[in-house]
Subunit: 314 residues, 2 copies
């Protein structure tokens, strides 16, 4: 898409001047106006973009299916997607779905209806089978989850989770629990399997009470702390969904003046700034890079990109 | 916009079936397919939305100008805007601008180019004068800042700020400082003026060193704590831009085992969950409601809506 920065540069005038010429503002010198109009004609600057999109068959818009925009994990991914869109001069039609199937399908229909040229799915509830129906209409990329037969960018969730378990075990913990988001997501299944294998190979005890679901926010972390605190037989090592939940757990304990450090170790995910301030270990996931790369994948035939992760010990 | 939920309901079939009929999927029973197609024709379900938009002159899309999507203040506003869009069956074209003038103008041009029907400005750098040039092309609403001659939804920043100053003074603080975001924003000017008046009326001392700018994130809070800690003559009351910055300040102090509570009081803004966990006072701003109302304002002639705020004492 030609933008007014390009026109301003070519005509050697300010962006304000170009904007004013476009809008028929009276306070523009005649020679400048003529220069801008000439450039606009030369490079074909169009007014009604719906007409342009209809004739060209492309919109330079990409749809994004995302459950929540105000959660740090998702908003950091989104920030990366914006970076990719900016570099590629595209706009984003971001659909906040709250995991509502109907909204998800509506977004996919925008691909079919030519409102967008492609779709990035950050997370969704829809069956893969339904999504596959939309493949003929444009590129669809999964950002953060591995989905067979789709382009996707992921981290190795099993390996990252295993790394956390090993770290806890290495630090002397034999009673290890973990938290997860949605019970039935692909990632949750991967975690459950990794956990079970890990514990069984080392003949460690495990207990379904040591697994806490619905863990997304700081508030969830506080709730899980109280659940954990009521357990008779407590896990002493906890691998926690993300740093927000981990911080909620630790701050809730601090609030009760419960000095946890002697008998529980928390490891979070994401390496958010709060993990540094509260000095807990975390597994860093390259979220911004993941978002940005998902955008580039729209224009490439590569099926699967896997990014690395690393343990930040504190 | 007709959505497939409506079609599914009318035809008494599942959303999946409707989706498959639209996409020409073979595994749909003939009677169901016919029913769906009949309903689609009846309610005029269209395929190429660019053609629909071109013919109708509306897109059911709204543009949003927002500096950052991954900052809690902005993402909570955005969450409210999404709520409004969902209720009104509109989609959002959200432009993350990083306060780049060119991106801001690009978004305004989408209004002129009929890519969107209206614009919500959460925060921007552009001169009001330039924005006014776009008024003939559709509704423009400011969400969070008062701007003369535009529709806007605000809180009374001066009153909220004054309330914080009064609370600090009431708690015995005579040396009061504050933090702000961008030095030259409208809100910052309002705060500076409110502060100066407040201190002068009470003949309290004040010092430019007690005002800290560039305060947005937890990381900024940590930086400001260290600046504050190096001051010989420290303010003992601090009114802080938002709860993220306030939490960064307090956690940085805790990390150094600096037990601040005896000699400094922090008041934040936004009433985020972390303020509850760290037990500091905060001024609650109705951000989600503000976002949602900004959306409704697009379709109303009301010029200015002001929402309330309240002090949460802890």
């Amino acid at each position: 898409m030609v933008n007014i920065r390009d026109i301003a540069k070519k005509a050697n005038v300010s962006i304000t001047t170009v904007s004013r010429v476009i809008n028929g503002h009276p306070y523009v010198k005649e020679d400048k106006r003529e220069r801008v109009l000439a450039i606009m004609e030369e490079i074909g600057y169009q007014i009604n973009m719906n007409a342009v999109h209809l004739s060209k068959g492309i919109t330079k818009r990409i749809g994004v299916i995302i459950p929540f925009v105000s959660h740090p994990y998702f908003s950091q991914l989104l920030s990366g997607i914006y970076k990719g869109a900016f570099i590629n001069k595209h706009h984003l039609l971001v659909m906040q779905t709250n995991y509502d199937n109907c909204v998800e399908v509506e977004c996919l229909n925008m691909l079919k209806n030519r409102e967008v040229d492609g779709i990035i799915i950050v997370s969704c509830e829809l069956d893969q089978e339904i999504i596959a129906d939309y493949k003929p209409f444009g590129p669809i990329v999964f950002c953060g989850e591995f989905v067979e037969n789709f382009r996707c960018i992921t981290i190795d969730h099993a390996a990252a989770f295993q790394l956390g378990l090993e770290e806890l075990f290495y630090n002397g913990h034999t009673k290890i629990g973990y938290t997860l988001g949605r019970k039935n997501s692909h990632n949750s299944h991967v975690r459950a399997l990794t956990y079970k294998n890990f514990m069984e190979i080392r003949t460690l005890p495990y207990d379904s009470k040591w697994i806490f679901d619905g863990a997304y926010t700081m508030e969830d972390g506080e709730r899980i702390y109280h659940m954990w605190n009521k357990l008779r037989d407590k896990p002493t090592g906890l691998l926690v969904t993300n740093d927000q939940v981990a911080a909620g757990f630790l701050l809730a304990a601090n609030k009760e003046r419960n000095n946890l450090q002697s008998f529980v170790q928390i490891i979070g995910f994401d390496n958010q700034y709060i993990s540094q301030l509260l000095s807990f270990s975390t597994i860093e996931l390259p979220l911004t890079q993941m978002g940005e790369t998902s955008f580039h994948l729209l224009f490439q035939e590569i099926k699967h990109v896997k990014l690395g992760h690393s343990l930040i010990k504190r």
